[in-house]
Symmetry: C2
Subunit: 411 residues, 2 copies
């Protein structure tokens, strides 16, 4: 049993939000408010930047009923940042500011909610505290729609984005069948390096309305092969629905969205409309068919109205587990998810070293993509499908989402 | 009491789908299957084109449990078309084909589900039958996300699209607050001539996350005024969220999306990415700020997962009312919605002449847009808000929408 450590805790959110990032916040907050060891619960304004500036909200001042709405509130409730800390061996200035704030408020617990960059931040902060003999327990709380964190079965935030994508793609696919006229539709998903989100489009098969072709960054893109794939499906049915990751790249590593399109003119400004519209232009020119490009854009990461209950439950559980682990004496770890798919889906929170997650990217295994590189395999679907299950409770007002209204009292 | 008319009925869907077009289908089908006068229930494949070709599905062969899922199934379940009939005085050929099919199957009831073009079709068909002494009762069933049908308080399909738009805009607005960095986001809604859908973005105020500026086609667009509006909001808060209709036009009637952008180069191909991206380009050039364009695209009309219960209930009720009215002897009418907002919202189905709806467009009254032409007024919000209320039952499978699976047996 670790020594009892009494003091305040700071929770901070980092990087791009997810539909359930505030569910993790709620898990942390609920466990922290309930603990005897934690004297005050603070949430940093705009992540680590707020910690450095000493800008923190006093969560104890918030109405518990409003806090209870956090799990259905999209976007980072306390603000986020994209600040990457320098290595403390090169420049300690950021760390000194953090330590000043922590000393000032007697902060003894730090929970940082973010992706692989944030786990790196956690790890550096943790090392710096140790080197300066400041007793503070640091636990990383994972989040990212990209699902690219190493060491956890999946990452809170991915499942809700996947559910939004699968639902939307199923609906778009149904819509495409309306007219008896030929068309090619290309839907673009986020994921600069990892194709987890784009692969989730395949889950739409559950609704009987899945895309015909799916292209992930993990398989090299070939424009001629792509046009031949689309042409083949289109010739057969007069329709073709494509799901494509913004991050697809040619075999030399060049992003398709950024490559010079030398085989066509007029697309020099294609980046304005994104990859889907650019590919539509190419398809239209080659196949002379009506096309439509759809970019799911920000809604992938903020559509809380379509969140997965599994995701919400796990996000809360992981947040709570982070706090309980810290109170039990753990530090320098990330709260991860262990999942079992044998005989029904189940999950458990677990700890892993921060260093295992920091600055690494988990990609879709190449063997979960078919040999042609134009669809995911059954393994991918079996992996992702249990995660999108269930509808969380949804409080609405006049039929529209009721978000948490926080006072945000600065300490 | 009208004479009892015994025979089959044909239901057909026309034009672009809505999230609840199949709820209207369900209303028609349920009432028709339950009636003693209607001997067979047929649904045309791809609207009036299917009627002309004699391609109709036998609804009596369908599993009632699957039919019951129609209200949560997006897209036109039986297929749609965009075929505009010629005036029978000029060319009777289409009408003769329709009459041939109707005679062959003893069709005595025709329910056509569509927008103002389809009401015109209904009216012409009705006139042609009368002139040829063919006893058939014709009732129009309204649908359109655009809400531009004259003579009905609103149109089935609008409310669910409005709910999707308000929900999505609220979520996007929350997402925009995540970082402490300046940005301008422009969200584009459908509506070539009427701004009902774009105005619905204002309903996001219920969630405490509404756009800063809203531009409808009903108020002439001025690029300098627009840039000054955006600049003013942006200077104050470092952020600006704009909702804009694809149909905004300059005072000379030219669509902004199609106008030559003489004040900038490089946007000659802006139509590739739509209006939002084009406006982002202009804002970026003038204000030197990070921008993001988001086009809600097809999801506005097919996002059944975000349908309004009020809309679903009304769509079913209007479909049933159409059938009951025809059985009671009515013909040559459109089923419309009368709504009351005094002391709580209520609605009732009513009949109106087809000629009153055919080929006309109901626009947002100019006085429901503020004097500056950059937001809707309280009147608009009071009109639209009750319509998005309520969550319909949603059957899911593995957390994803369960659409009706129909056998579609051709007669």
């Amino acid at each position: 049993m670790a020594e009892k450590l009494i003091g305040a805790c700071v929770f901070a959110q980092s990087g791009g939000p997810t539909a359930v990032i505030n569910a993790s916040a709620y898990g942390v907050i609920r466990a922290a408010l309930a603990s005897d060891e934690i004297t005050n619960v603070y949430a940093a304004r705009h992540g680590i930047v707020g910690v450095m500036a000493g800008e923190m909200f006093d969560i104890g001042s918030e109405d518990p009923d409003e806090l209870a709405l956090l799990p259905q509130t999209p976007s980072s409730a306390f603000g986020s940042c994209r600040h990457k800390l320098r290595d403390p061996d090169d420049d300690e200035s950021d760390y000194i500011k953090i330590l000043d704030t922590f000393r000032k408020y007697n902060v003894r617990y730090f929970f940082y909610n973010g992706g692989n960059d944030s786990m790196d931040t956690c790890e550096k902060v943790s090392r710096f505290f140790a080197r300066n003999d400041y007793d503070c327990r640091v636990i990383g709380v994972p989040k990212t729609i990209d699902n690219d964190l190493v060491g956890t079965d999946h990452c809170p935030g991915f499942a809700s984005a996947a559910k939004y994508i699968a639902t939307s793609v199923a609906e778009i696919c149904m819509d495409n069948r309306v007219y008896n006229t030929p068309s090619v539709t290309i839907v673009e998903m986020m994921g600069r390096h990892a194709g987890w989100l784009t692969g989730a489009a395949a889950l739409a098969e559950i609704s009987g309305a899945a895309p015909d072709l799916i292209y992930l960054p993990e398989a090299a893109f070939d424009m001629d092969k792509f046009l031949s794939d689309v042409g083949r499906v289109y010739d057969g049915t007069g329709k073709c629905l494509v799901a494509v990751s913004e991050g697809v790249a040619y075999s030399d590593g060049t992003f398709v969205s950024e490559a010079e399109q030398s085989f066509t003119d007029g697309f020099a400004h294609a980046q304005l409309g994104g990859l889907a519209n650019m590919l539509c232009g190419v398809v239209k020119q080659r196949l002379d068919v009506k096309t439509r490009g759809i970019e799911l854009s920000l809604l992938q990461r903020c559509a809380a109205h379509c969140a997965s209950k599994t995701d919400v439950d796990e996000a809360i559980a992981v947040g709570e587990f982070a706090v309980k682990s810290a109170i039990a004496g753990e530090s320098g770890k990330m709260a991860a998810i262990n999942a079992s798919r044998e005989g029904g889906y189940s999950f458990a929170a677990a700890l892993m070293p921060l260093t295992a997650a920091a600055n690494r990217e988990k990609k879709v295994p190449r063997e979960w993509i078919n040999a042609d590189g134009n669809y995911v395999t059954r393994e991918f679907i079996d992996y992702a499908l249990p995660l999108v299950n269930g509808e969380p409770p949804r409080v609405t007002e006049n039929g529209l989402p009721r978000f948490a209204r926080l006072k945000k009292v600065l300490v």
